[in-house]
Amino acid sequence: MASSAFVWWRALAHGHLLPGTVPILRRVHAVHAVPVLALLIAGCRDAPPRRGAVRVDDFGEPVRRGSAVSPSRIVSLMPATTELLFAIGAGPRVVGRTPWDLWSDSARRIADAGVGLRPNIEAVLARKPDLVLLYAAGENHAAAQALHAAGVPVIALRIDRLEDFRRAARLIGMATGDSARAATVVDSVDRTLARVRSATAGLPRPTVFWHVWDAPIITIGRGSFLDQLLTIAGGRNVYEDLSQPSPQVSIEDIVRRDPDVILAGPDGAARIRASTTWRAVRAARTGHVLVVDTSLIGHPSVRMGEAAVVLARLLHPGAMP
């Protein structure tokens, strides 16, 4: 009780707009922690004994090991896992993807099975899959259940940050029987990231505004792998204090945070350069708008190492060989 009063006081003292929200959320977590733990323990009793660290997906469903009978018809409903499947050599077994999965070139030849959020179950089943990879968002719960009911194994994954990618790669490798190659892919991404990190370690860190979208203005927060890549590449995200992966912000707040550099895709950069409102931001006014290849950098997957190299070269010309 005393600690809850303290939280209230702190929320008020720090000027939260809705002081109630923070303590209420914390209280809910505290109250629910006990039954959730009990459920987890109950769930573990039925599950086979754990060997590795990762055996359940992000909806808490067990993942079947694919070494004996590996899936031969995989539908991958997010770009990150499609890229990953191709990288670990399971590409020929992918029979469905979303309209946005355009890497690698071979992925473009795979049948489009529809969007990845609230997917069209019939379109997915029409591909006759024996494994479906799904983004683990709340609105995909029903889809996962429907596919389970149809007898199709599902792995639901929430891949937002670097560590999510590592875990997803291990899980998918295990499920497809390509564990060794999955480990190699993760290692190679990690090695590249480490190389970039050390190349930019001693350099001054420019503050960066990452322009994702225009109306409303959307950027990246701490919850996104892009925030991590930016740090590794020797920059500092001006919105690293926001926990959401893609928060909406106002232009005047960007002026207040006064970034040294704006990063944007080709279209966004052209709009910023042509706009009179963006001139209010010093970086736009002084021509510090850098163009990033959004198709390379958009997904938390096997090309993150490459993406970090590109970012480091943009922010610190000459720092990366």
């Binding site: 109306a215 409303p216 909406q248 106002s250 707040d253 409102t277 209010a280 010093r282 006014r285």
Partner: protein, 325 residues
């Protein structure tokens, strides 16, 4: 409040809110710094914030409010319906469909977009009036409203179908626009909206006598030698153009056209020439205030402008609705 008192109070409030709108925002600036920035002196960031961000934004909000207020007052008078306004009549929804089709066809300039929006708005109001007449709604003002709300729902559905294949961020943009926002206002946009507002607002002032007569009822209009059908159609079309121009500039901002004429009438102003002018002043003040709330209430994010006006407008609508039941 006396009538002359209303003009003074409305003008003072509008000017005060515009000054507040230019001086208040996420970046705290002293009044001295704002004045210096207006003159182009002082810190470069402050100059750009005041001149490139806040001034055009306040101007756009004021024009949107004036346009919606005038459009609402003209529709309420000519339809003899105290609940009429562009948003509830489906006019704004129709305008949105027109604008989305315009964008889909590649016309996204500040000049052309209002014309596409106008085509949609005119189609919407014509349909709403036809439905209401077919349902015998001349006697009950709520029938026309129902027709309008249904057209608004149809418009939303049409937009969603057009956008169904769009990527997530485009969808987010469309939803954002359908909730209204003055963010991203720039001078060319302000200039075009000002042009449309002066043109259509001026035409409605010109028709103000006709609206006075229409407000008395069709029979009185005929007795007074006015072709009610033709005069009414003219007012509907010009009001729709005005509302469509605001939709093209700032998306769907509801309930301003509903609330504002009532405030002006509460000051004892009945004739439509002063009523339309009063609605322009009051509407401008209301939307400048709503936009100030939208951009400062929840930093660093912005609230949708239409959400702020709806929070004020819906309770007001319910109070008005009670008068009919």
């Amino acid at each position: 409040m006396t009538r002359s008192g209303f003009w003074i109070v409305a003008a003072v409030i509008l000017v005060a809110l515009m000054v507040l709108g230019v001086s208040w925002g996420t970046v705290p600036l002293s009044l001295h710094a704002v004045v210096a920035a207006l003159a182009g002196h002082g810190d470069r960031n402050a100059v750009e914030i005041v001149r490139a961000l806040r001034l055009p934004r306040v101007a756009l909000a004021a024009l949107v409010g004036a346009g919606l207020g005038v459009s609402g007052a003209a529709l309420q008078g000519s339809l003899r319906n105290a609940l009429a306004e562009p948003y509830l009549l489906g006019v704004s929804g129709g305008a949105a469909v027109g604008a989305v089709i315009g964008v889909a066809l590649g016309f996204s300039s500040a000049v052309a977009l209002p014309l596409f929006a106008f085509a949609g708005a005119a189609a919407a109001i014509a349909t709403a009036i036809l439905i209401a007449r077919a349902a015998g709604g001349r006697a009950d003002p709520r029938v026309l409203l129902m027709a309008g709300v249904i057209i608004g729902a149809f418009a939303n559905a049409a937009i969603m179908v057009v956008l169904s294949g769009a990527p997530a961020n485009t969808m987010r943009s469309a939803l954002w626009w359908m909730m209204g926002s003055a963010a991203g206002a720039d001078w060319p946009q302000v200039a075009w909206l000002a042009g449309y507002t002066v043109l259509a607002g001026g035409a409605l002032l010109w028709f103000a006598r006709d609206i006075d007569i229409l407000a008395l009822g069709d029979e009185s209009a005929t007795a007074l030698g006015v072709n009610a059908e033709r005069a009414g159609r003219r007012v509907f079309l010009v009001s729709s153009l005005l509302a469509a121009a605001t939709v093209a500039a700032a998306g769907l901002v509801g309930f301003v056209g509903l609330v504002v004429p009532h405030l002006v009438r509460a000051a004892g102003i009945r004739r439509h020439r002063p009523l339309l002018l009063g609605a322009a002043l009051t509407g401008a003040a209301l939307v400048v205030l709503a936009d100030l709330v939208a951009r400062t209430a929840h930093p660093p994010a912005e609230l949708p402008l239409g959400a702020v006006t709806a929070l004020v407008g819906v309770p007001f609508f319910l109070v008005q609705l009670r008068r009919f039941s």
